[in-house]
Amino acid sequence: MATADDQFYREYILDHYKNPRNYGRLENPDISHEEDNPLCGDVVGMDFRVKEGVIDDIRFHGRGCAISQASASLLTERLKGMPLDDAKRINKDDVLGELGIEISPARIKCALLSLKVLKVGAYGLADEDEE
């Protein structure tokens, strides 16, 4: 019975849950956005510093299940140093691929909460630029 669990909660997912990368807040971020999933109480927020169209620095904060928090940690690693336009093109398959485990329909919102934060945050900034 244990092996199936171990595969689901792979070591690197638990590692990212317990030792989240880029965890915390940025002072005066260019983008700051938070989303929650009221169904399970997961919260993820991200602060971005953008220099010349590139994500120069990023921090996330939040609380919730291992999947939501590990997903956010993994995503920040990927986003750091990435042009914002490329970041906007990240899709759910990219995020689920990075997690590398099979996510049941009931848990998909946990896995994709950080992507929602990125999308809403990044497109929010784009609107401001156009003004």
């Binding site: 244990a2 669990d5 638990l14 399970c40």
Partner: protein, 413 residues
């Protein structure tokens, strides 16, 4: 007609076809009966028989199978009325579920009787189904909501009940919390409410399936419950109310079957209970609920409660011994077969996912009681709930799954 049987859990399990199912070689450990119960073959069979042998619209046809359908559907109503000791089957309104029953009271009685400045008294432990309808009514008519608080054990604080009842038109309260398991002292609360001139609505969704409920002894005014949590099908629930109240209330939904005469610009209403049952009813579901009542009465509700108390005491003790695990709510003697808990460092959804790998069906989330989660200071809890078919071995498997989750999460630092 009703076969009296001892509640032998091994034998009981044979009545539920789903419990024979194996997933990846493991038997199903179903610990989510507070969400919906499993169904015995006795219920599944009568519904199947209706569709195969006498499917017809009741209350309409003069032909044989319509009369059979009417007789079976109305017989179910009689049996439900007897089950809760209603004075008459006319007081038993079939509706979709507890939520619809409460909304019926909100729209019909509430709009006619709750006015600007009136107060509606609720509790912190209500399911959203006994909270949101009253929020909507209060907003609509300009009434205000007040709340009875809970203490740290998950019991209602009743010291200030009399003060909080001042100016209250309706007290709407759960008989048993779906999250904490707390069984509320309804009789004492009803006495106080009636002294203060308030009517009382009870959300009995978690009580009727698990203990003897006598609406006349409780002396309540409205009592709502669902079929699907008591071995019956989904899509059928009950609003019981005092006959005088029902007679005075305007209809809820308009349509066929709820009328006596219709002219182009007006109509008169059918007698109780049909005045509140517009449209073709859930016939098979009603018949199924009648069979569910017979099934439970075969054991007697005191035997059902005794079995669940035994399982709950066992589970409460087993879970209390797990490191870093917090059990919410009162001790087993004050609660029904529902245990909510949380584990330091492991979110309830992660616990439930790991339990699912062992085919242990555990609920995780806010259990439709978000204000209660706020009161407990947690985003969510895991919840195990029990019924007539629950075995101690299943509690053991739950505890093993929890320990497995700890092992997996502790293996990393």
């Amino acid at each position: 007609m009703i076969e009296a049987r001892a509640l032998n859990v091994e034998k009981v399990r044979e009545d539920f076809p789903i419990l024979a199912r194996r997933i990846h070689g493991h038997p199903l450990v179903y610990l989510d009966s507070a969400a919906t119960s499993q169904k015995p073959a006795a219920v599944i069979d009568v519904m199947d028989d209706y569709y195969r042998r006498y499917n017809a619209n009741p209350h309409r046809g003069v032909y044989a199978i319509s009369e059979e359908a009417t007789a079976a559907y109305e017989s179910a109503r009689h049996r439900v009325a007897s089950f809760i000791n209603a004075a008459s089957p006319k007081e038993v309104i079939f509706c979709r579920n507890t939520t619809e029953a409460i909304n019926l009271v909100r729209y019909s009685w509430g709009r006619a009787n709750v006015h600007a400045g009136d107060r509606i008294l609720l509790t912190e432990m209500e399911h959203h189904s006994n909270l949101v309808p009253w929020q909507l009514l209060a907003r609509e008519v300009g009434a205000t909501l007040e709340f009875l608080c809970i203490d740290d054990q998950g019991l209602l604080e009743l010291d200030d009940l009399e003060r909080k009842l001042e100016g209250v038109r309706l007290l709407a309260i759960t008989h048993q919390s779906n999250t904490l398991g707390t069984i509320n002292p309804i009789k004492a609360i009803v006495e106080a409410a009636h002294r203060a001139g308030a009517l009382v609505l009870i959300d009995g969704a978690q009580a009727v399936p698990h203990m003897a409920v006598d609406v006349r002894d409780l002396d309540v005014d409205f009592y709502a419950f669902s079929g699907h949590k008591m071995c019956g099908p989904t899509g059928i629930g009950v609003l019981w109310a005092r006959r005088a109240l029902l007679e005075a209330m305007p209809p809820f939904l308009g349509g066929g079957d709820m009328i006596k005469r219709v002219k182009l610009n007006e109509a008169s209403w059918n007698d109780l209970p049909w005045k509140f049952e517009a449209g073709t009813p859930s016939v098979a579901e009603g018949i199924g609920l009648g069979a569910a009542v017979d099934y439970l009465r075969g054991f007697g509700m005191d035997a059902v409660r005794a079995h669940e108390l035994e399982i709950t005491e066992y589970a409460y003790e087993a879970l209390s011994e797990v490191d870093r695990l917090t059990v919410f709510g009162p001790p087993p003697s004050r609660r029904a077969g529902v245990i909510s808990f949380a584990m330091d460092g492991i979110h309830p959804h992660d616990l439930a996912t790991i339990a699912d790998r062992d085919q242990v069906c555990l609920r995780a989330g806010h259990h439709c009681a978000m204000p209660l989660m706020t009161r407990l200071g947690v985003p969510a809890t895991a919840r195990a709930s029990f019924y007539v078919y629950t075995q101690k071995e299943e509690v053991d498997r739950l505890v093993n799954s929890i320990k497995e989750a700890q092992r997996i999460f502790d293996g990393h630092s």
